[in-house]
Symmetry: C2
Subunit: 400 residues, 2 copies
Amino acid sequence: MPTPQNTRTLRFALLAFFSLIVFYKVYTSAYDTKVPLPDVAEIQRAQRLAAAANTPAKDTTVNTPAGFPQAVFPGERANATFVTLARNNDIWEIAKSIRMVEDRFNRKFHYDWVFLNDQPFDDDFKKVTTALVSGTAKYGEIPKKHWSFPDHIDQDKAKQVREDMHKKGIIYGDSISYRHMCRFESGFFFQQELMLDYEYYWRVEPSIELYCDIDYDVFKYMKDNKKNYGFTLSLYEYVETIPTLWNSVKTFMKEHPEHIAKNNGMQFVSDDAGVNYNRCHFWSNFEVGNLNFWRGKAYTEFFNRLDQDGGFFYERWGDAPVHSIAAALLLPKDEIHFFNDIGYYHVPFTHCPTSEEDRLKLKCTCDPKKNFDWKGYSCTSRFFEMNGLVKPAGYEKQMD
Amino acid sequence: MPTPQNTRTLRFALLAFFSLIVFYKVYTSAYDTKVPLPDVAEIQRAQRLAAAANTPAKDTTVNTPAGFPQAVFPGERANATFVTLARNNDIWEIAKSIRMVEDRFNRKFHYDWVFLNDQPFDDDFKKVTTALVSGTAKYGEIPKKHWSFPDHIDQDKAKQVREDMHKKGIIYGDSISYRHMCRFESGFFFQQELMLDYEYYWRVEPSIELYCDIDYDVFKYMKDNKKNYGFTLSLYEYVETIPTLWNSVKTFMKEHPEHIAKNNGMQFVSDDAGVNYNRCHFWSNFEVGNLNFWRGKAYTEFFNRLDQDGGFFYERWGDAPVHSIAAALLLPKDEIHFFNDIGYYHVPFTHCPTSEEDRLKLKCTCDPKKNFDWKGYSCTSRFFEMNGLVKPAGYEKQMD
């Protein structure tokens, strides 16, 4: 009769045998990003934390320990980073966002995080964010040339615009820094020294929510499926902030017909084949995209045209319509991806997957009634129609 | 010279050898709750999800698949559960709380979760919460006798009190259901059929936040350290809701001196050795405790005295002062534990560890300036003074 000790030894032997097989499979597998490596990650995080605490401020370059490997499995992941534009006093709001992104996604993948600021980041900001990011956290100070008025801007004219917009009560209408921010996100975030190492990015703003588990590598998905721009929410822009934006776009289209993509997404941004802008844009506080698209010749010439025309200062062009129009015209429409599975909130809008089956599978915590996708002020229906996509069952119930 | 293939085989052999040693250690260890079992948990969760989707409503009993093991490592964890009193329309607020508790703690431990309601839970509530809980989710309907007026209550007198309190603008002063809730949490949550299987509980309310990683087994900690009641926040009660509570407590103390513990925590609840109540109480929307303490003779007689005196209906006694006074008088003071390492928020108060070192180590995302512990309306200083604990460095800076 087997004794408890014998049974235990036998069970150990069997388990050990199967474990060896499993272990060999994992070890020799060419691609398995989901293998948890808690010890390595813990040690690395502790090292980074110690380094962040001891390293003097070096805001214009990288605040990451030398020799820290960029990826646990080099070559098996995408070359990608999170990117956040933040001020020092955003610390607790951005901490909340990092916590969300790590819990729902990055604790399984350990991608890096680049923080950008027009001022030097302080030690508190760096210590808290370094402790939270499971990849390497890097801190960059934005060069003056990327956060200031270009020489060709008429300061008196720009000032007059701000005063007029303020009188009209347009949100951020009188703000200089908001304009620098929109121009920076339109033309320069992907040019920052720290960003040059990467191919893909995921933009994260303070105080967002992520509602659903993301169990696959979003960046690898982009690469493997040849997607260059990804969004969760779309809506109409305030017309007062962009009265002449489309004129500049039309000038660009005339000057550079060679940059307009075949099978582009014109239908998403114009209801009359390009005569007028319908004000639809992807909401750029969430973006997953290919940095090389923004760095390429087509977008560079697109941005330069817009920047030359001065609407970032003479009006209040946002980076959302600028990015969206560029993605719609310069990319084939099938390179733009709707991340239905990423439940997302940025005040005041929610994207929550429409299908109950999806929500349960992805363990979403969002209230489906708050889903903005099919409401009147969203442009996501247009994206579906343009691409011949079938709207999910039950979408009609969420239309208002 | 070693070929790459040889090197790889050698590396595998070495890794396999060390892995076997580690595996044997873990397997034979008497206590290691941190071994991740993602596959088992995933399968079990999928099973539960499927079961929840297919099981008809059985609100008075357990909605959990038969044969589902209660613990992954029976005997190595505490016998414990989360417990939540909720209504069906709390679904998204409780989903947020579960997500928090799972992310910061329970995804590593898979403890069960008991949901209680005075009405039957609907399918939506059960599906969403079952999907989120990494242990077994159970749903109980509270029996009428635990959620109604006892026979000895004079309904006219109780009604008059509600009208008077409403006129005085006392929060929930005119609410019947709030009173049932306070009496239920005071006297009956630990008596529910589903709760009888457990020794320890952690009470969770809708819309809480947990700010810091909890990497150890909180329930095991309670058991191993002979703690019977744990809190994160303490404060003063509104005197209008409990004018005669202390009279009832004094009656109990006279009737049952045998139940008053040696080395009790009287100093926490009274500044004059028991003549008057100082209104200090542990904030009971967070509680980790021993169910057998509430089920024991001392507390049963304490609750019965209070219930007989009628203050749940003739005043508006809350379960927080009732639990707190009982814990202070019926337990030795060293059996009450302050969970400094559990960063916590319930509108409108925050507990955030005072020490920066702790916050970074535990990856806390709370703003230390919001920590309530040392502010004038908190009683936590008294708890420290009673126990001769040294307040953390920097506490003076958080006093207002």
